[in-house]
């Protein structure tokens, strides 16, 4: 696609349920990032993929959070046993990777509401 695509756009879930958020990066982009934006806050780094491997998972807030990337393309962020504090906008970004000067392009995010 022309840009980074995220689905769903909005998700309301009950506390305790599992959710999956999807990110489809720009074709050919090897680097993929997940960020979380809580209400009124800046973006918080969660995880970074280079290809299918995740060399930096340091931002995942707990073991309820996991992510995978398959085929060097689509990534899924899974939150198990959701809690109210997980409510936030989850943003995905991709870049060509390689030299650090490459620009990261963002999707429009998934707004997750845990009720």
């Amino acid at each position: 696609g022309a840009g980074v695509s995220q689905s769903p756009s909005n998700k309301v879930t009950e506390k305790g349920k599992d959710v999956e958020l999807r990110c489809d990066p720009i074709s050919g982009h090897t680097a993929l990032y997940w960020y979380r934006q809580s209400l009124g806050q800046g973006l918080e780094f969660l995880i970074y993929f280079q290809g299918n491997s995740a060399p930096d998972k340091s931002g995942l807030p707990s073991d309820r959070f996991s992510a995978e990337r398959t085929g060097g393309s689509v990534s899924t962020l899974t939150i198990q046993r959701t809690q109210q504090e997980d409510s936030a906008v989850y943003l995905c970004a991709s870049s060509r990777g390689g030299p650090s000067r490459t620009e990261a392009f963002f999707g429009q995010g998934t707004r997750l509401t845990v009720v």
Partner: protein, 117 residues
């Protein structure tokens, strides 16, 4: 660890006037990149301007320019001839040039800019 601080939660400017958004950062690295991103209500982050730390010249993109003070670790954004479409949340961000950091961005808390007609 690197940090980015935006001390102005909200700013307001009159249409056609100039406004400056402040950003400070903390790092022990000498080589890095700084960015300003715009986030309209659509939520999509849009890159406004980028500065490489090794360049002394301040970056400029049309009506947007930065004042990069490396020693002071300051990186402010100036918007000239403000337009209604400039109203958005603005984020300052830092990225290490070190390959072992993978290119992740560290963001400030954001500044909500409103433009008055």
């Amino acid at each position: 660890a690197q940090t980015v601080t935006q001390s102005q939660p909200e700013m307001s400017v009159q249409e056609a006037e100039t406004v400056t958004l402040s950003c400070t950062y903390d790092t022990s690295e000498s080589d890095y990149y700084l960015f300003w991103y715009k986030q309209p209500p659509s939520r999509q982050m849009i890159l406004v301007i980028r500065q490489e730390a090794y360049k002394q010249q301040n970056a400029t993109e049309n009506r947007f320019s930065v004042n990069f003070q490396k020693a002071a670790k300051s990186f402010s954004l100036k918007i000239s001839d403000s337009q209604l479409g400039d109203a958005a949340m603005y984020f300052c961000a830092y990225r290490s040039a070190s390959g072992n950091q993978g290119g992740k961005l560290i963001f400030g808390q954001g500044t909500e800019l409103s433009v008055k007609p």
